[in-house]
């Protein structure tokens, strides 16, 4: 017989094989463990944003529908003191507007009406959103009318940042920015979730603006090519329904 010869279908491998393989496997497992450590430790930290998945609650407040749906929460319901304006978004990758139009109870324009809804809280970085988890059935009650919200004065501004989809960014997914999340953000915005311009470099502190066109309507398909990339935008700043907004001409967006 020649040197040690390994035959897989025999019950035992030669001792020399066993020793060599044991050594190789132990070395590899140590290397792999170190690599795992490097991968996890050096990756970007996740945000502390929260999606209260599976914890549906009822919320009451004043509903604004145009140009994007916001519920001004009654006191004590917002996770942030001083910000009661919850942006409403749909289930999955959809906006809330179609649900509000399709809801069974409403008659006429919903804007400025007191409502009770059921939904799931999403919040982070000082902003609040509510997912209408039950779709059309989320709108529970409508009461008397209150005066419509005020639109603030406009200021011109140019800024750098990234277009994100607020539903994912403020808590549903992590990471919810940049290249890895681009396709998802495109789907969300295409599905009617209001696009939000996040001003500031990645990792710094941010300001957020809902993006509208120059006639005051939500932007959608026109801005999809820019989603998830570093861009420069210019437009006029104001505040609508408690959310800062930026009205822009999408043709003037520039890649950074």
């Amino acid at each position: 017989m020649g040197k040690d010869f390994y035959i897989g279908w025999k019950d035992e491998a030669p001792e020399s094989n066993k020793k060599n393989i044991k050594r190789l496997l132990i070395t590899l497992m140590v290397i792999i463990s170190v690599i795992a450590m490097v991968l996890v430790v050096f990756s970007k930290s996740f945000t502390t944003h929260t999606f209260e998945f599976g914890q549906e609650k009822t919320f009451s407040g004043v509903l604004y529908v145009h140009p994007f749906p916001v519920l001004k929460l009654d006191k004590g319901q917002s996770p942030y003191k001083g910000n009661d304006y919850a942006l409403l978004v749909g289930y999955g990758k959809f906006g809330a507007s179609t649900y509000l139009q399709g809801a069974k109870i409403p008659k006429g324009d919903l804007s400025g009406k007191r409502v009770t809804i059921s939904g799931t809280l999403i919040y982070g970085d000082g902003k609040v959103l509510i997912e209408l988890t039950e779709k059309e059935k989320s709108l529970l009650e409508i009461e008397n009318t209150v005066p419509p919200s005020a639109f603030s004065e406009k200021n011109r501004a140019t800024m750098n940042g990234e277009i994100i989809d607020p539903k994912c960014w403020f808590g549903v997914m992590k990471p919810a920015e940049g290249k890895v999340h681009k396709s998802c953000a495109i789907r969300c915005i295409s599905g009617g979730i209001p696009p939000v311009f996040r001003m500031g470099d990645s990792g710094s502190s941010y300001n957020y603006y809902v993006l509208l066109d120059e006639t005051g309507n939500l932007l959608r398909e026109e801005i999809l090519p820019y989603v998830g990339e570093s861009i420069k935008v210019q437009g006029s700043l104001s505040e609508i329904n408690g959310w800062p907004v930026l009205e822009i001409d999408p043709d003037l967006i520039k890649y950074q």
């Binding site: 017989m1 020649g2 040197k3 010869f5 390994y6 035959i7 897989g8 279908w9 025999k10 019950d11 035992e12 491998a13 020399s16 094989n17 060599n20 393989i21 190789l24 496997l25 590899l28 497992m29 792999i32 463990s33 690599i35 795992a36 450590m37 490097v38 991968l39 996890v40 430790v41 050096f42 990756s43 970007k44 930290s45 996740f46 945000t47 502390t48 999606f51 289930y91 999955g92 990758k93 959809f94 997914m173 992590k174 990471p175 920015e177 940049g178 290249k179 890895v180 999340h181 681009k182 396709s183 998802c184 495109i186 789907r187 969300c188 295409s190 599905g191 090519p225 998830g228 990339e229």
Partner: protein, 346 residues
């Protein structure tokens, strides 16, 4: 169809192989989860699943790919090769978890079909850093899927070893796609030099080991120059240089030939195993049969046939011995032809 196959047996070693594999994978999963709990506690469950399965799948794939050249360069590692298909199928399982979860997470519950969304959400196909990297992963997953479902020896037989080997060579295409998937995907977000070094390092290791084993093979072929010829017999070796029950590989006139010395006899058969083209000359004669070093397929040296109930057949070659020198006729005899073994006389 009635194709007969006889599977490689399920034995103690194979069970041990699987046990070690399961343990190593379990370790990787637990380690990855614990590291997240400690260092990245704000993760979401979906991201943890997507990243852990990607890490396990990519690590296994790299390992699977280095086994081949490693065993060629250092036969001590041959046992790793024996049960590689279980590693392959397990790797596919983790890759599928990663791919399916990614599609659900990033593409489902939207206004177009999730699979369509993989292709049409990000449409910057002309770009490099903005390239829709998911598409690369998608095609890689399809290849891995085809390999996983055809991994059984039944398909090896049915599709013919050549076709099967061709299909399974696509793993290199899949690997390349996955490296690009990572480079144009997560590394455009986690733009950390360390990660680039790890990705390039693992690609370099796989490519480097393959080049090294190919280089060894080429160097060996270059040494295969035989000029002493008589009646189409070439002098190729000495009787002494082949240890008992061992073989020697010869490359002559485009024939890959294995000469074996056993029971004071010499026989020659084609060097390419009919199972998955393993190098028979690197095997040994065990209980009267040439035994392939890769998965242990056996052939009778005198006629190149597998012992019953198996049906594999190799071409055989005519030998002659003169003054302690071995001569071979490189014209192959039809597969399974009996050629009387040459008795060695001192």
């Amino acid at each position: 169809m009635g194709v007969e196959y006889a599977g490689v047996l399920w034995n103690k070693q194979k069970k041990q192989y699987d046990k070690i594999m399961a343990f190593a994978i379990l370790w990787m999963v637990i380690l990855f989860v614990v590291l997240h709990l400690v260092f990245q506690p704000d993760f979401t469950a979906e991201t943890l699943i997507i990243r852990t399965s990607a890490f396990v799948a990519f690590t296994l794939l790299n390992f699977i790919l280095i086994i081949g050249p490693l065993a060629r360069l250092q036969p001590a590692f041959l046992p790793l090769l024996y049960n590689r298909r279980h590693l392959g199928v397990t790797m596919f399982f983790f890759a599928a978890i990663h791919g399916i979860f990614s599609i659900i997470q990033f593409h489902a519950l939207g206004n177009i079909n999730p699979i369509v969304s993989v292709f049409l959400s990000n449409t910057k196909y002309e770009a490099i850093s903005e390239f829709p990297f998911q598409v690369l992963g998608f095609f890689a997953l399809i290849i891995l899927f085809l390999m996983a479902i055809t991994s059984h020896d039944f398909w090896l037989k049915n599709l013919s070893p050549k076709f099967w080997k061709g299909l399974h060579m696509m793993v290199y295409l899949a690997y390349t796609l996955i490296v690009l998937h990572v480079a144009t995907g997560i590394l455009q977000y986690e733009n950390n030099l360390l990660y680039w070094m790890l990705l390039i390092g693992s690609f370099g290791l796989v490519a480097g080991l393959h080049l090294a084993s190919a280089w060894k093979e080429r160097k060996w072929r270059k040494t295969q120059v035989y000029q002493l010829e008589k009646d189409n017999f070439f002098e190729v070796a000495t009787v002494k240089e082949i240890p008992d029950n061992c073989g020697k590989g010869i490359w002559i006139a485009d024939q890959n030939i294995a000469i074996f010395k056993y029971n004071n006899c010499l026989s020659a058969v084609n060097n390419v195993c009919r199972h998955q083209m393993g190098p028979l000359a690197e095997g040994q004669v065990v209980e009267g049969c040439i035994t392939c070093p890769w998965h242990g397929y056996q052939y009778q040296p005198e006629d190149g046939q597998s012992p019953p109930p198996f049906h594999e057949k190799l071409e055989t070659y005519q030998l002659a011995v003169l003054n302690g020198k071995i001569w071979v006729n490189p014209d192959p005899m039809p597969e399974g032809t009996y050629v009387a073994p040459i008795k060695i006389t001192d």
